[in-house]
Symmetry: C2
DNA sequence: ATGATAATGGAAATCATTATCAATAAGGAG
DNA sequence: CTCCTTATTGATAATGATTTCCATTATCAT
C-alpha cells in the first residue's frame, strides 16, 4: 500500500528505520541486525563479533560497538547490564509490543530467564505509575527496566 | 532491653551485623558506613574515596571497593548501574523497609530521582509476581530492580 | 559515474575494577 | 594487658571492556 515499501528485494524491514534517522545502510549493520533478530539470547558485543567472523572475517569489534550504540539510540535494540561486567544486547520490539518481556537474573550462575507472564498486570500498574510519576516529578518516561534477582532452579538445589 | 545491646559506646548498629558474618570491624569499614548512612546520594567508589581522604588521608581506593563489596554481600548496601560507566552505591534498609524506593533515571543529564510513591501498589504486584514466577520457574527471588528512564523536568524543557 | 562525507577497522588509549603481596592491625587466648 | 594468628590494608601493577584516533573505504545523492 505505502509507496515507499521495498519488500521482496532482500531488504530487511529495518532499512527504512535506519535510513529514516539519516544513517547509511551498510553490510556490517545489516549483519548485526541479522544476528540480533534471529536469536533470543542476550549477546555481548564480543559474542556478536565472533559469530560474524565466519561471514565477515574483516569486521572490526569497534564497528560492532558502534553499530550497537546506533541500534540502541534508534530504539531497535535494548542494552542490559546483568552484572557480569559486559553489556548485553537484545532486539527490541518496544515496551508496548507483545514480545516485550523482563528478566530473572540468577545471582549465582548468571543465567538469564525471559518472562512474559504477569506482564499484563504489570502493564496496568506501570501505566498508572508512569502517569503518576510523570505528573509529580514532571519526568517524561520513555522506558522502564524490571529485573528480579535470586537463585535459578539449579543453583537453588546445589545450594542445600 | 536486649542483653546484647551495645548502644551508648560509640558503636554503630552495624557492628553486630558485620561481626555476625565473621568479618572484623575496622576503622575503614566504619568510615565507609558512616558516609553511606548519612547521605541520600548515589555515590561511586571514588566519590566515597574522596570524601574520606580528609579524615583518612591514607585510606586506599582498593579498600573502598573491597568494603563496598562486603557491604553489598551482607545486604547493607545496594549496588546500582545507572549507565554512567561506574557502579553507584546506596545504603539499604532491605526491600521490605519503608525507606525502600526505586529510581527515575534521566537519559539526558543522568540525574537520579528517588521515588517512594506508588510503592504500595507496586509492592502488591511485586509480591504476586514474585510468587507466580517462583512457582513457574522454580526461581527463588531475593530482590528486584525497577527503574524508569526518560527526561527530567529540566532536560525536557531544554529539549523543545 | 563522481564527489562529499559517513562508516570502517586496526591499533592505541581510557578508565573502572581486580589481583598481588608485603606490611599492619583486629581480636581471641592466656 | 600481651602475644599470636590471620584477616585486612594500601601501593602498585594488571585486567578487560569500551573509546578514541586516523588513514582508508564504501554509501548514496546528484
Ligand atoms: Mn530477554
Ligand atoms: Mn536511591
Ligand atoms: Zn543459577
Ligand atoms: Zn536530565
Amino acid at each position: 500500500m505505502q509507496s515507499g515499501c521495498r519488500r521482496g528485494r532482500g531488504l530487511g524491514w529495518w532499512h527504512g528505520h535506519i535510513r529514516g534517522y539519516g544513517y547509511r545502510m551498510t553490510a556490517q549493520r545489516e549483519a548485526v541486525l541479522e544476528i540480533m533478530t534471529k536469536t533470543r539470547e542476550h549477546l555481548s558485543a564480543e559474542d556478536i563479533y565472533h559469530q560474524l567472523h565466519n561471514l565477515y572475517p574483516n569486521i572490526g569489534l569497534t564497528t560492532i560497538y558502534r553499530t550497537l550504540e546506533l541500534l540502541v539510540d534508534t530504539g531497535l535494540v535494548y542494552k542490559f547490564d546483568f552484572g557480569d561486567g559486559r553489556a548485553r544486547y537484545e532486539i527490541s520490539e518496544g515496551p508496548d509490543s507483545p514480545d516485550h518481556h523482563h528478566h530473572l537474573v540468577c545471582t549465582c550462575c548468571g543465567k538469564i530467564t525471559n518472562y512474559t507472564d504477569f506482564i499484563d498486570k504489570e502493564r496496568k500498574l506501570l501505566n498508572e505509575t508512569e502517569m503518576g510519576l510523570s505528573k509529580k516529578f514532571n519526568f517524561k518516561i520513555t522506558n522502564h527496566l524490571i529485573q528480579f534477582y535470586g537463585l535459578c532452579e539449579k543453583c537453588n538445589k546445589d545450594e542445600k
